[in-house]
């Protein structure tokens, strides 16, 4: 089998790519000059992969040495990663002052034009919609996340995609589109204006479409890709409208112009701005799969698992968050913001709260490992939206401190979630991959069609994998912990802040905030349940199918990124929290922040941080914090353990890192919930609360009949009139030709009539 070979030699191919950035450094380039490479290298690589793949498909060299383009992709992403690390390194501690910041570099003058003003003269100086690079702490963070995860997931794909025979001769398409996606993501983060943000946003949408539909021959994949594209398209269109309004207000879409003074000295009509931002938020809702445009994300899991990991968990879906994060200067009344936009924060928080709760509920009943993760993604993104909503609300009410905390937490959660979720998906991919292989291995030699009933993604076929796949189990455990918010691990440091500050808003300022506050709190507990459920169903207990016994981890392509991300997930959250990541990320809209310890020594910082997390000053926050911990750490996992937990089969053992959890899970007794799973609520949840059916029903009853009606109208009425003219003319023609009877007598008669009428006309009219 190909995967058993030592293929580390192939990495030599990516060295030239990695050498690009150091070489430029030697040539005394500045990092901002090199920033264009982050986008340019993928841009030049993706057509090469696609076209070369099409031409050299099947040749030995292409397949074994270049991994059907995978190595090229990895190299390109490596180069982007190195360039972006350079950028991060240069700017991380020397961010320019936000409100007076200019784009650090201009790449492209896209279109330039004049505007006719209301005094009928042209604007002096040409307007430009160009592309430049904008740097602040959010940019740097997301850029790092994106380049890093793209690189790792591409690495993972080399093990995942290239070993599956179904993908043979198709992988160049995967890698090409993967790289194209990466360029979209990088470009979106770097863009210094809303238009180019949108442009790259759409490029990602395209790649999402292409990659979901990677298995284009599958009905479900083709359908899912279309659904994803169209649903996000709905949001995008509103985003476009938002941009139009924004352009109308500011005469520009560049951050440096808009953020300099978003209120234009108080001249901005807050109502108009509200609509602009609301429209943009609808775009974000579509992209980040929030209620009510959430329906595409679960279906998007039809794509290959690396795609789910990268696009639908770690990067693209964050674009919506990024966009909302960019709305802060508009509402930040402390800094030229426009007052009177509290409703926006409320709306965002509500959308987030509803989505968080709903997605978590649906995740309860999912048996497909990727679907669980998909709903989890949706739910976690919704958390961040709730946080951003509260942040906007605080900013708009000039509650600066609270705003900064919740904003920073949201951004930090974005980071934690991206890392954890990327890893979780890769881990699930590892499980699926090995299950699939094991299944193929068992049924080797059997008839082709036999294997089709088996679903390697169904958790009901798994169980007890902890002993077979220790690395994966460990990774998944830490990932789940981070998502759940187990104290001290990853997501805990960010999630607490979101929930606490939302409650703060609800309790002390705005009763309406109570809705989202309650919803996110409940969701915390639910997250504990479904994430634990997933882990227990997969790794704990005894094997539920024979396939499990043949599973074993093998390829280093898959293991390496898992290990790296496990470390980051497990320790990164705490580490960055200590470094003040929350403040740093919030500093984007405040002052030039620095990534440094809050206190002078490490120990003091740790104590400060722990105190801050567990024993905040305000009593009500303290209560909220502990309730959250209780729900997510105790209630959820324990219920999950009662239902799905259990010891491994006899004779099986796992690494100590996870075996404690397996054995712990068997301590809570067990509970049969089969009658519960048949309840109406459960059925409704399994049907995703009927949203898909509702949308489809509406479309089938309105759009399709209407389009058929217009087509009919065009054919029969508009074109029918033309045809009427034709047929009536033909009819008239036959009749008028019949007047030529052939008899000369009739001709003479007609001539006589003609004569009489001429005379009548001459004589009659003139006398």
């Amino acid at each position: 089998m190909g995967e058993s070979k030592n293929e580390s030699g192939l990495l030599a191919f990516i060295l030239p790519f990695l050498a690009v950035v150091p070489a430029l450094y030697m040539l005394e380039w500045e990092s901002h000059e090199a920033s264009i490479l982050i986008v340019a290298i993928p841009f030049m690589t993706f057509p090469v992969i696609l076209i070369a793949g099409q031409i050299y498909n099947g040749t030995e060299y292409w397949k074994d040495k270049l991994k059907e383009g995978g190595i090229l992709a990895l190299g390109a992403l490596g180069a982007s990663l190195s360039a972006s690390l350079w950028l991060v390194y240069d700017y991380v501690d020397s961010l320019p002052d936000f409100y007076d910041q200019q784009s650090i570099t201009q790449w492209l003058e896209w279109v330039s034009f004049d505007i006719l003003q209301s005094d009928y003269t042209l604007t002096s100086g040409t307007k430009i919609l160009g592309m430049g690079v904008w740097i602040d702490s959010i940019t740097l963070m997301i850029l790092f996340v994106a380049t890093f995860l793209c690189f790792l997931i591409c690495w993972f794909s080399l093990g995942y995609m290239n070993t599956d025979p179904i993908n043979e001769d198709r992988n160049h398409r995967f890698y090409g589109e993967f790289v194209l996606f990466a360029l979209g993501m990088f470009g979106m983060v770097l863009a210094d204006n809303f238009l180019w943000l949108f442009i790259f946003w759409e490029v990602m949408g395209l790649c999402s479409y292409l990659l979901i539909g990677f298995y284009y021959w599958k009905d479900s994949a083709a359908y899912a890709s279309k659904k994803a594209f169209l649903t996000t398209r709905v949001g995008d269109v509103f985003l476009m409208i938002g941009l139009f309004i924004l352009y109308d207000i500011y005469g520009s879409l560049e951050f440096s112009v808009i953020f300099h003074d978003p209120s234009l000295d108080g001249m901005v009509d807050s109502n108009k701005l509200f609509w602009a931002l609301l429209m943009m938020f609808i775009g974000a809702v579509g992209k980040s799969a929030q209620f009510p445009l959430h329906v595409w994300l679960p279906d998007a899991m039809e794509g290959p698992t690396p795609v789910s990991a990268l696009i639908h968990a770690a990067t693209m879906v964050n674009a919506g968050l990024y966009l909302v994060a960019r709305m802060v200067p508009f509402v930040d009344v402390g800094h030229h913001g426009v007052p009177g936009l509290e409703e926006l924060g409320l709306i965002i928080a509500y959308v987030g709260g509803i989505t968080a709760f709903m997605a978590a509920a649906i995740a309860f009943v999912q048996n497909d490992i990727k679907k669980v993760l998909a709903y989890s993604t949706m739910s976690q993104l919704a958390y961040i939206f709730t946080g951003l909503g509260s942040a906007l609300w605080f900013y708009n009410n000039d509650e600066h401190h609270a705003a900064v905390v919740v904003f920073g937490s949201s951004m930090f959660h974005l980071f934690n979630h991206a890392m954890a979720k990327g890893m979780l998906f890769m881990a699930s991919g590892s499980v699926i991959h090995e299950m699939h292989h094991a299944h193929d291995h068992i049924h080797h030699g059997h008839a082709e069609g036999h294997g089709h009933d088996f679903d390697p993604q169904d958790m009901r076929n798994m169980g007890g994998l902890a002993s077979k796949m220790p690395v994966t189990a460990t990774a998944m455990m830490f990932g789940s912990m981070s998502i759940i918010g187990i104290p001290l691990i990853g997501g805990f440091w960010s999630k607490e802040g979101i929930i606490a500050e939302t409650w703060l808003a609800a309790l002390e300022h705005e009763p309406l905030m109570m809705g989202p506050a309650i919803l996110v709190l409940l969701t915390a507990g639910m997250t504990g349940f479904y994430m634990s459920r997933m882990w227990f169903m997969t790794f704990a207990g005894s094997p539920k199918s024979e396939v499990v016994n043949h599973v074993h981890e093998e390829t280093p392509w898959i293991k390496t990124p898992l290990v790296i991300l496990t470390i980051i997930t497990a320790l990164g959250g705490f580490a960055f929290a200590l470094l003040g990541a929350t403040d740093y990320l919030a500093s984007a809209y405040d002052y030039s922040g620095h990534l440094k310890l809050k206190k002078s020594t490490l120990l003091e910082s740790i104590i400060y941080k722990l105190e801050y997390a567990f024993l905040p000053d305000k009593m009500n926050l303290r209560i909220v914090g502990w309730v959250t911990i209780f729900l997510s750490f105790i209630v959820g996992p324990v219920f999950a353990a009662r239902i799905h937990g259990g010891k491994l089969a006899e004779g099986e053992s796992s690494t100590p890192l996870v075996s404690w959890l397996v054995s712990l899970s068997s301590k809570f007794g067990s509970q049969d919930v089969s009658n519960l799973s048949e309840s109406e609520l459960s059925v409704a949840l399994q049907n995703r609360l009927y949203f898909d059916d509702l949308y489809e029903g509406i479309l089938a009853r309105t759009v399709i009949p209407f389009s058929e009606f217009t087509a009919w109208f065009d054919r029969k009425v508009i074109d029918g009139m033309v045809k009427q003219v034709e047929s009536k003319s033909v009819l008239g023609s036959v009749q008028i030709r019949n007047l030529t009877t052939g008899s000369a007598r009739d001709y003479i008669l007609m001539a006589t009539v003609g004569m009489l009428s001429i005379i009548a006309l001459l004589w009659g009219i003139n006398s």
């Binding site: 030709r737 019949n738 030529t740 052939g742 008899s743 000369a744 009739d746 008669l749 006589t752």
Partner: protein, 100 residues
């Protein structure tokens, strides 16, 4: 001497008769005769005009018009003959192979 207006009046009657004749009669020869009648109506007018104005040109016109009529008859008869030789009819209503 007859008043020229009577002659012209006769011409009107003749013209009317000829005109009615041409589209009521079916036989080509009769129609040809009716045409002659109409031409003669014109001749009467020329004569009347000559008498009224004392201008001899009218007579010249009359003479030439008669010549035209003669030529017409000659040609007409020849054509009808050829019609008859192919279709065995000189009835205008029957010679309708060319129509529509």
């Amino acid at each position: 001497m007859i008043d020229p207006s009577w002659i012209a009046g006769l011409g009107v009657i003749l013209f009317g008769v000829g005109l009615i004749g041409v589209f009521t009669r079916n036989n080509a020869i009769v129609v040809l005769m009716c045409i002659e009648v109409m031409l003669n109506a014109a001749n009467l007018n020329f004569v009347a005009g000559t008498m009224h104005y004392g201008d001899v040109n009218g007579w010249v016109f009359t003479a030439i018009a008669i010549a035209i009529a003669a030529a017409e008859v000659a040609i007409g008869l020849a054509i009808f003959l050829s019609l008859y030789s192919t279709q065995q009819t000189i009835s205008l209503d029957d010679a309708t192979t060319l129509r529509n």
